[in-house]
Amino acid sequence: MRIKPKQYVLALVSSLRGKNDKDAKILIANFCRLLADGNLLYLSGKIIEEFKRQWDRSEGLVNADVFSAQELDTGTLKNIEAYIAGKLKAKKVEIKKNVNPDLLGGVILKFEDKVFDGSVAASLKALKAEMKK
């Protein structure tokens, strides 16, 4: 049975939990040797990608993109953070701010594979479609 990159990553994440930097270094070196012995270093790209995702998940960290027409104030950002954290039961939300004047107003939130489109541009588009009917 072939072991998938994800399974390696899950093993690595769970063994790294609660270790200090020095122990972690040894652990990672061992892990790399294991991959090398198994001729699996070609998987390293995938493993690193997957590791980022799994580590964030185990830490309860969510990355979110926020698009808005203007720079948002901290109060709004806090609200958005709380909203996403509530939705995904995450401990921490890392927000990346993007400004796009084409939205006219409102915000678009993107987190994991979900999109919340609360922009004025989208509402206008929906109104246009409704009027056409």
Partner: protein, 508 residues
């Protein structure tokens, strides 16, 4: 004038204030890879099997249907043109299982498998949708067949009768008249209280244009729907076409109506499914078909049924068509479909080349349940004829060796030749049940024995004409009574006698 202006402005204001743009969370995936009509998509964590998904391409949006749910990706077939779909495009879930518009609006139309009009007669305007995949009715809801489907083809109505709710396979090589049988059957359903659906799967569009033209000419488009997945359409549309056609049929079934559905042909359907399966990297099996190719057809044909009166009493009669390669009925798909259906009509190249058309091989063709649905009159005459036809086949091979035959054998051979001659029938020329009964009655009672074999077809068409003009009441009586009583038998004998008197080539 100003009144109307104010009114319009007010109405606009009302509409806009009443409009509430609802922002809701949507699930979005990204296209990882795309090729040959198949896309692999990441994300879409909560998407369902056979759910419709929407690809947001740069130009427009196109729909796809989910066929594979994997650990970290989703396999989707794209329904339509996939040229615009690029890697990284957004894909939205729709929370709708793939469905087609149904309703009486589809009658008389030519549609693609998604229910979009192809005949240039505008949109359908159906407000009802049925999912294309549905579990077939169960044991309790069903009833055995008890009403005939009149194909109007003498060889079939007499020897291989089809009942409403039956699944009868039409199988044979290319260019042998499989579609002709199906189209003739559709034409003959006029006034029989039957809706027809012709599903063209991977067919040439020129051929379909031809068929639609023929159906229109015969007035058959009034009760017929054509679902077309052409040879140039992607495999995904070819794959869903029969299911879409069946969903449209189920609408009428639920209303308690009788439907005839022709799948032309399921070999191409299996090929399209093989293409999709291989592109989705499902493991290939025999002839490179995937492991579930049996289920592919069994779940489709199982939806043909006759419902009991408590469940509406409707029926779906299915006529699937299979094309064989060089008469090989033991290939994978033909054996599968033969075992699923309630019998088959086997068309043979040798018979076709001998001029026996329709080239129905009476020995290999069977109808496992249809005889229960035959009318009494037909059952009475056809039973004896089937026996005589079988005896003739046996003797014909044997008689080639010797010329010295006893009287009985000679008589059987002569009778058999006339039966074979009677079974010959032109295309688009269905014969009504009553006329079939008259001819068959005459045949088995020796009234055609004095007609030369080469004159049989002339004699028969003359007889039909004579019966139409002189004894319409007799034909009506046969249909009405549905059985042969003494009066009818005497009437038929009388008809033959009178008709023969008008002919000069019969020795008196």
């Amino acid at each position: 004038m100003s009144n109307t202006k104010d009114f319009i402005v007010e109405e606009l204001k009302k509409q806009i204030s009443g409009f509430q743009a609802e922002a809701k969370i949507e699930t979005v995936g990204k296209v990882i890879s795309v090729g040959d009509g198949i896309a692999r998509i990441s994300g879409l964590s909560d998407c369902m099997m056979s759910e419709m998904v929407e690809f947001k391409t740069a130009k427009s949006s196109v729909f796809g249907v989910v066929l594979n749910l994997e650990e970290d990706s989703v396999g989707v077939v794209i329904l339509g043109s996939f040229e615009d779909v690029k890697e990284g495009d957004e894909v939205l879930t729709t929370k709708r299982i793939l469905e087609v518009p149904v309703g009486k609006e589809v009658v008389g139309r030519v549609l693609n498998p998604l229910g979009e009009a192809l005949d240039g007669q505008g949109e359908l305007g159906c407000d009802k949708f049925y999912p294309i995949e549905k579990i077939a009715p169960g044991v309790i809801a069903r009833k055995s067949v008890n009403q005939p489907v009149q194909t109007g083809i003498k060889a079939i109505d007499s020897m291989i009768p089809i009942g409403r709710g039956q699944r009868e396979l039409i199988i044979g090589d290319r260019q042998i008249g499989k579609t002709a049988i199906a189209v003739d059957t559709i034409i003959n359903q006029k006034g029989q209280n039957m809706k027809c659906i012709y599903v063209a799967i991977g067919q040439k569009k020129s051929k379909i244009a031809n068929i639609v033209g023929r159906l229109k000419e015969a007035g058959a488009m009034e009760y017929t729907t054509v679902v077309l997945a052409g040879a140039s359409d992607p495999a995904s549309l070819t794959y869903i076409a029969p299911y879409a056609g069946c969903a449209m049929a189920e609408y009428f079934l639920d209303k308690g109506e009788d439907v005839l559905i022709v799948y032309d042909d399921l070999s191409k359907h299996a090929v399209a499914y093989r293409e999709i399966s291989l592109l989705l990297r499902r493991p290939p099996g025999r002839e490179a078909y995937p492991g579930d190719v049996f289920y592919l057809h069994s779940r489709l044909l199982e939806r043909a049924c006759k419902l009991s009166p408590e469940f509406g009493g409707g029926s779906i009669t299915a006529l699937p068509i299979i094309e064989t390669q060089a008469g090989d009925v033991s290939a994978y798909i033909p054996t599968n479909v033969i075992s699923i259906t309630d019998g088959q009509i086997y068309l043979e190249p040798d018979l076709f080349n001998q001029g026996q058309r329709p080239a129905v091989n009476a020995g290999l063709s069977v109808s496992r349940v249809g005889s229960a649905a035959q009318t009494k009159a037909m059952k009475k005459v056809a039973g004896k004829m089937r026996l005589e036809a079988a005896q003739f086949r046996e003797l014909a091979a044997f008689a080639q060796f010797g010329s010295d035959l006893d009287e009985e054998t000679k008589r059987k051979l002569e009778r058999g030749k006339r039966i074979m001659e009677i079974f010959k029938q032109g295309q688009y020329a269905p014969v009504s049940v009553a006329k079939q009964v008259v001819v068959f009655y005459g045949l088995i009672n020796g009234m055609l024995d004095d007609v030369p074999v080469e004159k049989i077809s002339e004699f028969e068409s003359g007889l039909h004409f004579y019966a139409d003009t002189n004894s319409e009441s007799l034909l009506n009586l046969i249909v009405e009574k549905n059985e042969l009583n003494d009066d009818i038998e005497a009437g038929i004998k009388e008809l033959f006698k009178d008709y023969k008197n008008t002919l000069d080539y019969i020795k008196k």
